[in-house]
């Protein structure tokens, strides 16, 4: 597992993620990205931060970003939700 934390198959501890997108997102998309908060940065990017239950949830989130045609800049895990 190349030094990564081993993922189990069941529910894991929710992980906190920060997803940076190009463009400023309006709050109306909060519904889409359930439970994520939006931070509009001065460089014209948006940071979505929040907890994802597991990898499947994270990928579902990325798929939504894909479907809106939002350019994805980075996805960072920022420690878990303890």
């Amino acid at each position: 597992m190349n030094g990564e934390k081993e993922a189990s198959n069941g529910y894991e501890t929710p992980e906190l993620y920060e997803i940076r997108l190009k463009g400023h997102l309006n709050d109306r998309w909060a519904d889409w990205f359930e439970g994520f908060s939006f931070t509009l940065e001065s460089d014209g990017t948006t940071i979505l931060s929040g907890a994802v239950a597991d990898q499947a949830a994270l990928h579902g989130m990325l798929r939504k970003i894909r479907d809106l045609g939002l350019p994805l800049i980075s996805v960072i895990q920022v420690g878990n939700n303890q």
Binding site: L21, G23, L25, N26, R28, W29, D31, R66, D67, G69
Partner: protein
Amino acid sequence: MNIPILSTKLYIPQPRPNSVQRPRLIERLNAGLDRKLTLIAASAGFGKTALISEWAADCGRRVAWLSLDKGDSDPVRFLSYFIAALQTIKEDFGTGVVDLLQSQQPPPIESVLTALINEISAISFKFILVLDDFHVIDSKEINEALSFLLEHLPTQMHLAIASRENPPLPLARMRARGQLNELRAADLRFTPDETALFLKGMMRLNLTADEITALESRTEGWITGLQLAALSMQGRSDIPAFIQAFAGDNRYIVDYLVEEVLQLQPNHVRAFLLQTSILDRLNGPLCDAVTGRQDGAVQLEALEQGNFFVVPMDETRHWYRYHHLFAEVLYAYLKEEQRAQLADLHLSASTWYEIHGFSADAIRHALAAEDFSRAAGLIELAWADMRRNRQEAAMLGWLKAIPDELVRQRPVLSVIYAWALLSAGEIATVEERLQDAERWLEMADAHEKTESFLDGMVVVDKDEFRGLLSSISLYRAANALAQGDISAAMKNARRVLGLVPETDHLRRGAAAGLLGLAYWTSGELETAHHTYFDGMANLQLAGNLSDVIGGSIALADIRIAQGRLRQAMRVYERGLQLAVEQGEPAMRGTADMWVGMSELCRESNDLPKALKHLMKSKEQGEHTGFPQNQYRSCVAMARIKEAQGDFDEALQLYTEAEQLYVSDFFPNVRPIAALKAQVWLKQGRLDDALDWMREQGLSVDNSLSYLREFEHITMIRVLLASYASGLADHRSLPVAIEFLERLLKAAEEGERMGSVIEILIVKAFADQLESGTSAGLVPLQRALSLAEPEGYVRVFADEGPSMAALLEAALKKRIAPHYVRRLLTAFGQTEPNVPAKQPLSEHLSERELDVLRLLRTDMSGPDIARELTVSLNTLRSHTKNIYGKLEVNNRRAAIRRAEELGLF
């Protein structure tokens, strides 16, 4: 075909009049036509669909088109649409395969594809198949199927895939081999020239070069952005100000622009756009149902005219859809502004779809409205169709979305759930669902109510409710059999037979079939045979011919275990005849008949014919085989290799067969591990064989059962080998022989003459070890007399030199001399066995030949006597003389011998 095919999904979108022509891209697409795959991969809104539709009109080839949606992740549905798409360019394409997809157990996807690939290579012209919106497909099976298709793609076909993400296909390999032509976002962006052309020509905007450049750089040539920007500028007086504001704004482009566009619209248009954004496809009446207005058709036309991201889905401008991204953004707005109305809008759509017979759409919108009881009711009503169309995957997904307590209130739905779980192989939770349904039935009984008047119980499909008890028992029987609980399987299958009327052939057939399999598993072969036979007769009346043909496998297997090889052959011949009568394309089950006949030819040592039959089964195509076909065909080939003395090859094939094994409710009476152990013994790999014994927990202390019979016979072989090599102590031999005797008794009691012959052969070796050759000849003689009339050869010949020696000894003692001579020629040769025609010591008289000819028919003794106008006694003395001259002791052996001698 059964899966309702929406022709709108097969419609090739027409290029919009005066749209921007993109000759540079069309040229690149045409240049890649000699490769296998064109991939157009870019985010939403890069004009993928528009480009391919321009190409389709311009490439000089026939084009089949399939617009995919989420529901197409169901492999059966995907394949059905795949075929339907190709039928738009070749009417009779894949018609036979469609029937297979609808059968009770659809064949594995790869074998269906093989059949389709063969049909594609028979198409007389070159064509393109377009799979649009491929990113919605989320199915490993479908991705594997497409990889397989691309691997074996006939030159007639070119595949074009449009997707928002790279499809999980072997792209790198295809790139390296020059089989892939790709267009990506960078290629699809509008160039400055195209941008100018688009804004000026198509959107009729008068813009300066600087303004165009500003728009182009802000949108980065992203076509949807440009189109939205153009819409936001139409009718504005202050375009320069708009462009300046837009260029300096950081907001998500679509958000920004849709807001601008919506602000420009009159209220009724704005409301229409938002409310109809819940729909995957739009038509006038459906829009009216959702909006509560009457201007749907007019609005749609106006939107199309105004370049409003509305795409016609058919020639007649009846169905439309919104550009996906546009719809997503509208829907986000709708949720923000009219959250309270959302459920009502979905419900209106659901109702409209239900009235117009689109049950899947009706169910989807009911779930979106979170009106789960409505969804549950719709599912109950749609079930019968969906079961016929084999859409259990979609069904299971919906059922899982409905809260459990709601399912529990509904006995019929609970049973549907059990069926969907059983079909998906999720057998652990089947019983729970059946019990939920059962509790309601018990309560209804207790209250002497047959209808849904119980407090808290909900039944929509009353007909199904009336037969629910038998459905529960039927699924319970199948589930029990799948889990190896024979007595529960029997109990439940019998219960179904007791409950359903004689006329319910489908349920009777299914139940009797399961019951027959349960008897077979427990070793009661004769009962198994007639029960299963009765099941097949019912399925034939119900019109499930394919299942009847496939059922021959079980019937023949049972006959083989009973040592009735000739009858087994007749079962296969009848099955094949039934298949042939159905005409082309070959019915499912055809391949299985050939494999079965091959196996019987191998036993009689006609190896060339056995191989020919196996080839024949392969020619039929895997899709005409039932689930066990590949495994059985692999085992058949392994046994041929074994007969030819090629043990390594045989072992490899057995290992392959292990991978292919599926139980399909059949008892596993000859486990492959045991077959391998027998080969190891022949190779002298005694340690491996002993390991196998330990792994399987085999010992002489085991209790006996038919399921373990073959393993036990093999175990004794291992014990004898280890005794003979001096590894075991002297007490082990009598113990092994005693165990053999118990095995023999059990096989005789079960009338399993096939097993009896095998056991007697092993016993011959054991007795020979213990007390010398003449002791061994006693069981051997019995084995020979049982085996001769049925024409067994390999069962002796596969034993190798030690058996040859025993047979030589038998010949010296004049034991079944003809048969033994014939068997001896089969040793150490792989050539077809042409029986040496021993001249008769005494010729048959004319009269005796007459009798012999009649003995060959199915006529009984008294009938033959009448035919020849002689008394029964006279006939008896004739036959006795015939048997004497032919050196045989029964009718069947006499016919066989006479055939060898060419007396007919």
